[in-house]
């Protein structure tokens, strides 16, 4: 059962081939067996999962099942869940249990899905390798020596390892798309404002967006339909109807105009990755698409702009973790300043502290104009680059990451880690949607290799189009069906 897509499992449940309880028990057993080594979950919630599965089965028996009823999934540990710890991968929130559910969680529950638990992540979503987690790194199921990507590394690894058919992630600079690429799964970052941020622990509020991670684009379409929509509790969510994202999956691609941003195929791109991506483009040509080169001239400013804006917002968003009302508090504080300093120094990891410091600096008097204001101007130019490109073409395509998954511990200096997000980060600054789909397996050891992700970008609210374009690729290729041979299973 663990190899099936969400769509296939839904059909099995509907046909009565198995119950949600059986499915849930089987996956919980698989998590129990495999995740000790993989470390993709921070918290597994068998009791709640089984109760939800029973409720789903009962609903089905009453004839009240919807398309997602009884389907298991996992939540990145950044979505607040009533009664279950939400840690954001941080020691700071190791003891935090929210008294409320994120809107995404509410919607998924209302759709009848069954959460198996909370997945591992880079602390406060800051990282590209999942190595910045208080709960330890996650292994890439394709190769235990490799990282799964980040920050939604636990979600990506859990799906790739067949522990869950789908998981929720968040993406602030590539945190859904890059781990999806590294783990050989499909991950969608929706348009900013498409999915409510209420109850999602904030990293950088103007960039954060939740999205689905699953085996196929079709599965992502089902999940996006369940979580998207306007939310009165999030002023930045957009009041705009939610279409049926599955309706246009089968639309033919003849006449599709694909743009290849020349800046995404330049220096630093691994040749194996480039080969795989160009091969994928040829598949699209064979499906009737036309391809042309386009330019996004401000691309090289994206990383500097991002590393001004995101840390600035983070420095403010993370100020609430002060040891006063919740979260980690140091022992025996001498006074208020000591309470603040030690609680925060002990509770936050190195990368989080680094970003808080960067953000505090760039917002400081005398630096604000030179950094924050300038970065916002750059952000507008980057957005305009995309809008100009979408005047010419329907979608943009390129690699999701310059390299396949790198080795655990390989990136020691923060800047080389930041450069991992070179193809994903501008998308968040522009607020447009992007999807990463498996498009090859390269390098690595003979039997395994490491996956490559093709990134497809569309204009604001073009999710249905992106999913259609991704789905058609998956009808023509089988990269999304490849499974890693997990060490434990080969024994």
């Amino acid at each position: 059962m663990h190899d099936k897509t969400l769509t296939e499992l839904a059909a099995g449940l509907a046909a009565g081939e198995f119950s949600s309880r059986e499915l849930t028990e089987s996956l919980l057993a698989r998590i129990e067996r495999l995740d000790g080594d993989l470390n993709s979950f921070i918290t597994v919630t068998p009791e709640q999962a089984l109760a939800a599965a029973d409720a789903a089965d009962a609903a089905r028996a009453r004839g009240e099942a919807g398309p997602l009823t009884g389907l298991p999934l996992a939540l990145k540990d950044i979505f607040c869940t009533t009664g279950v710890r939400t840690s954001a991968g941080s020691k700071m929130l190791d003891n935090f249990v929210a008294p409320y559910d994120a809107t995404v969680v509410e919607k998924l529950q209302a759709a009848g899905t069954v959460s198996l638990g909370k997945t591992n992540m880079d602390e406060f979503a800051m990282g590209s390798s999942n190595e910045n987690s208080f709960y330890g790194p996650v292994k890439n199921p394709w190769d235990g020596a490799a990282v799964p990507g980040g920050s939604s590394g636990g979600s990506a690894a859990a799906v790739a390892a067949g522990l869950v058919p789908a998981a929720m992630g968040t993406d602030t600079g590539g945190s859904i798309r890059q781990p999806a690429a590294f783990c050989g799964i499909t991950g969608l970052k929706p348009t900013y404002g498409r999915v409510s941020r209420y109850g999602i622990i904030a990293y950088a509020s103007s960039l954060d967006q939740a999205g689905p991670m699953a085996r196929t684009a079709a599965d992502c379409a089902h999940l996006l339909g369940a979580i998207a929509g306007h939310d009165l509790r999030d002023s930045t969510s957009v009041a705009r109807g939610v279409p049926d994202y599955t309706a246009e999956l089968e639309a033919p691609l003849s006449g599709l105009k694909i743009g290849l941003p020349k800046e995404y195929f330049g220096e630093g791109l691994d040749p194996d990755v480039e080969r795989a991506v160009r091969e994928a483009i040829r598949v699209y040509e064979s499906l009737g698409a036309t391809v042309r080169e386009v330019s996004l001239p401000h691309t090289h400013y994206a990383i500097p702009a991002y590393y001004v804006i995101a840390p600035a917002e983070a420095s403010s968003n993370l100020a609430r973790y002060d040891g006063v009302r919740f979260g980690h508090r140091c022992d025996a504080p001498a006074d208020l300043t000591d309470l603040y300093k030690r609680s925060r120094a002990e509770g936050f990891g190195e990368e989080v502290q680094r970003r808080i410091l960067m953000g505090t600096h760039t917002l400081s008097e005398g630096f604000f104009d030179a950094y924050y204001k300038k970065a916002q101007q750059v952000r507008r130019l980057i957005r305009q680059d995309f809008l100009d490109a979408f005047d010419e073409v329907d979608v943009l395509m390129g690699p999701a990451s310059p390299t396949p998954a790198f080795d655990l511990g390989a990136k020691k200096d923060p800047v080389s880690m930041y450069l991992q997000d070179i193809y994903t980060i501008a998308i968040n600054l522009a607020g447009i949607p992007g999807i990463s789909v498996p498009a090859g397996i390269v390098g690595g050891r003979p039997a395994e290799g490491r996956p490559v992700g093709l990134q497809i970008l569309g204009t604001h609210f073009a999710e249905a189009r992106l999913l259609n374009v991704a789905h058609q690729f998956q009808q023509a290729t089988d990269w999304h069906l490849r499974r890693p041979a997990l060490a434990e299973e080969s024994l």
Binding site: A98, I201, A202, S364
Partner: protein
Amino acid sequence: MQWETVIGLEVHVQLATRSKIFSGASTAFGAEPNSQACAVDLGMPGVLPVLNEAAVAMAVQFGLGIHAEIPEVSVFDRKNYFYPDLPKGYQTSQMYHPIVGPGEVEITLDDGSIKAIRVHHAHLEEDAGKSLHEDFHGMTGIDLNRAGTPLLEIVSEPDMRSAKEAAAYLKAIHSIVTYLGISDGNMAEGSMRCDVNVSVRPKGQEAFGTRAEIKNVNSFRFVERAIAFEVERQVELLEDGGEVVQETRLFDPERDETRSMRTKEQANDYRYFPCPDLLPVMLDQAYVDHLRDNLPELPADKRARFQKALGLSAYDAGVLSASREMAEFFEQVKDVCGDAKQAANWVQGELAGALNREGLPIQNSPVSAPQLGELVARVIDDTINGKAAKQVFQALWNGEGGSADEVIEAKGLKQVTDTGAIEAMIDQVIADSPAQVAQYRDAEPDKRGKMIGYFVGQVMKASRGTANPQQVNGLLKEKLDALC
């Protein structure tokens, strides 16, 4: 040397919304600590603010009330600093694009002239919680009920030149916000507080002196006292050859002094930046026009109308327009009795005196405006004389009777104007007072005027106060002089 005082005020007005500015929690005063703080007010992880439209409407109403520019776009910013009663580690405020632009507030000076105090801008922000230092045995308790309460911060230009002007300005703001009904203006409960910026400069000098900011002054009286102390301190300092340091000071009402809290060097860098969780507030013209069309008449307009249309003196117009309740009461009395001057005299005389004695605000007056209006009407139409009117007022005050007419009827206070009846009473009094009549007759004619008072008193007594005093006077004089 002659010194000139320069004062600017930052007034924080708590807006009378039912729920908080960014959450649905109640803003009611005086609840159990932390019983009115929801996840948003507590700054819990992942929660988001949602702007309360009522707070926006109130801020715009204030702006319209001071004839200010209302910008199309305003933006919320985060003011970042750490404090235990500031749950998010930042206060959501408006630094760069406030909701209300430049405007003007008029104050009346001692000589009766009007001075316009410029308002630089007014912006919306959320209040913080309260730190409680008592009852916690060396620790600090935090009450977040107040966290997220909407505040309108009204920032003046440094246009005031004395403590009195500053107090008058604060009173004018108080009167505007209570007229508009956008705040209860209750200073004791902290609904209005202000920060006072004070500096002094040699008279005639254009450049401002270095200012001190006195934080959190919460009464009209304290504003005057804090400024008085601060001016004296600064002048003394300068005259002794010292310098004023730019700093934040606290006013201690018990010692009647200000004390240094922190200097400029210790000031926080608040790292303002636009709040990414809130969209810019866009106000379309139709929305602003709608609020403008529904604005009540404000104190300055009312005062002008009282003077021009009703013919009241500047003083009367000022007193009667000072609060919305007072103005509404007066206008009701005026409408019922039909005479603005009489209504003004009664509201400021008999009524104000009685209210003062009992320490009652006018909205709790035992004598209602329609009751008083009818009473005044009966004076005007000569149904009762002034003396009886006071009796009627007292009776109404004591709750003896529902209306002036009822009291007049019940107590038989209707004025007697029947000449025959009055003459009969006069004849009786003359007959009963042979000694006084003899005195009157023997007195020099120019002394007699004074002596007539006795007879008037007797006749009024005989009529139980109901005889028309003018008639009594005239008829008495005739009859007595006839005896001479």
